[in-house]
């Protein structure tokens, strides 16, 4: 599958958040690097079909981004998210299963499978409000995987995870990248250092570099910092 981002722009009254960015993604893991405020979240929101671009187009194999068919392919994890206070982890996932059009029987199976995958099976019946930040993030990741997405967009997914959770997460992402298009954003280079095949770097709304990680000479972190000067 090819996810194509074509001259995408988002302009607000007094600021251009994303400035004519173009790139194509296929199966594998792509890291989106940039400081806070670089426009990563805005770009990812547009790629998830939840924010209308001011200009440009995004589509996956010709399916336009703001369509039900596109969303059916998509798994999205925003930087911040809430939950209804009465929800347990299990209920949260079942709620989203319904919104993703998954019927009840399969929803129950998928929920169980994903809770096991993210290591939350034994707290499935506990309320999310009792969870730590890392546990809540893991619920979010599970939610993004409910519909076996072909496109996975993750905005700062490792924030709040402890080192052990981070490692587990990296392994999961590597696995997912084998069959899906994964785009994950971070401002922490080490998160994607070993798992991203491709890197895209943003600064002040513009694309400053894109390419394969193997094209980067030397240390990724140094390369990234240099680009930022």
């Amino acid at each position: 599958m090819k996810l194509s981002v074509d001259r995408i722009t988002k302009q607000y009254k007094n600021k251009i958040a994303v400035d004519r960015i173009s790139f194509d993604l296929t199966e594998g893991v792509t890291g989106l690097l940039g400081a806070n405020g670089a426009g990563k979240t805005t770009l990812m929101r547009m790629m998830s079909g939840i924010l209308t671009p001011t200009g440009g187009e995004i589509s996956a194999d010709g399916i336009p981004v703001q369509s039900e068919n596109y969303r059916a392919l998509l798994g999205y994890l925003p930087q911040d998210f809430g939950y209804y206070p009465e929800f347990t982890a299990k209920e949260f996932l079942e709620y989203f299963s319904a919104l993703k059009g998954i019927d009840r029987k399969r929803a129950k199976e998928k929920t169980k499978e994903l809770l096991e995958l993210v290591g939350l099976y034994d707290v499935a019946g506990k309320k999310i409000k009792t969870f730590s930040g890392g546990m809540k993030q893991r619920v979010g990741i599970a939610q993004a995987l409910l519909n076996d997405p072909r496109i996975l967009i993750l905005d700062e997914p490792t924030a709040g995870l402890d080192p052990k959770e981070r490692v587990r997460f990296r392994t999961l992402i590597e696995e997912l990248g084998k069959n899906s298009i994964v785009l994950l954003s971070t401002h922490i280079v080490s998160d994607i250092e070993h798992i991203a095949d491709r890197i895209i770097m943003m600064k002040d709304g513009a694309l400053v570099w894109q390419g394969r990680q193997s094209d980067v000479e030397g240390d990724l972190e140094e390369f990234y910092l240099k680009r930022y000067e």
Binding site: I50, Y84, A98, L99, D103, G140, N147
Partner: protein, 238 residues
């Protein structure tokens, strides 16, 4: 290029005998996906209990009051219904209050369907309350069922419309309880009219007996328009 006729002839020539095991194979292969009506039904259990309770209460007041012959019954119901409207609008925006909007937006059905489902469900519930209360009240007090229903419905619709408009604005976003303020204002206004301005009340009833039906239809259309705008607007990102 091929003309329609030749295409049809080709289709006939290539026609294959019916496959035999299609249905069972597909059923097993693909988990069934759900459609919009079913999606709306799945939203029902997520509407919280106190809301059902309030609707039940409203209906109970109507029944009880009518059976006991309490004169103020119609007034009470007319005053309670706008709160049902406020609750419906308040509940419709629940996603926004708990930071679930972004996640819901990115799903196949999307936040729009959730808001739509909530408005539909609670609209139907209010409709049921109205449909049970009006005949009972009308019968007890020897009045027309239709006109009673319309008299009760109109303040409900006006409250709902104004609440929907305010909730969409930035004022509504910051102060989540706007719709209850509207319902409260409606309560205050109606109480004053009922107790201190019987002339206005009589005028209202007169108006309804002549223009009730067209007024109701117009207000229904306007309310649906506001609901439609609300559903469409949820996608606008702050």
């Amino acid at each position: 290029m091929m003309d329609r006729e030749l295409k049809n002839r080709l289709a006939d020539a290539f026609h294959a005998p019916e496959p035999e095991k299609k249905e069972s194979f597909i059923k097993n292969l693909r988990p069934r996906e759900i459609g919009i009506p079913e999606m709306i039904i799945t939203q029902i259990p997520y509407i919280r209990f106190p809301i059902w309770l309030f609707s039940l209460l409203t209906a109970a007041v109507a029944m009880g009051g009518a059976v006991l012959g309490m004169e103020d019954t119609e007034f009470l119901i007319t005053v309670l219904m706008p709160f049902n409207a406020a609750i419906a609008v308040f509940e419709a925006h629940r996603s926004r209050r708990y930071g679930m909007s972004e996640l819901e937006m990115a799903t196949r059905f999307s936040l729009r369907s959730v808001v739509f489902a909530r408005l539909v469900i609670l609209g139907i519930v209010s409709g049921i309350v109205l449909a049970t209360a009006s005949p009972v009240i009308a019968a007890s007090f020897g009045r027309s069922t239709l006109l009673t229903a319309i008299r009760i419905l109109i303040p409900y619709l006006i409250t709902m419309m104004i609440s929907l408009i305010i909730e969409r604005s930035s004022l509504g976003r910051t102060h989540g309880y706007a719709s209850f303020v509207i319902a409260g204002a409606s309560l205050a206004l109606m109480t004053w009219v009922y107790n201190c301005a019987p002339v206005i009340l009589a005028g209202y009833e007169e108006f309804i007996s002549v223009w009730g039906l067209p007024a109701m239809i117009i207000l229904l259309a306007m309310t649906f328009a506001e609901q439609w705008k609300t559903v469409k607007n949820v996608e606008a990102f702050a």
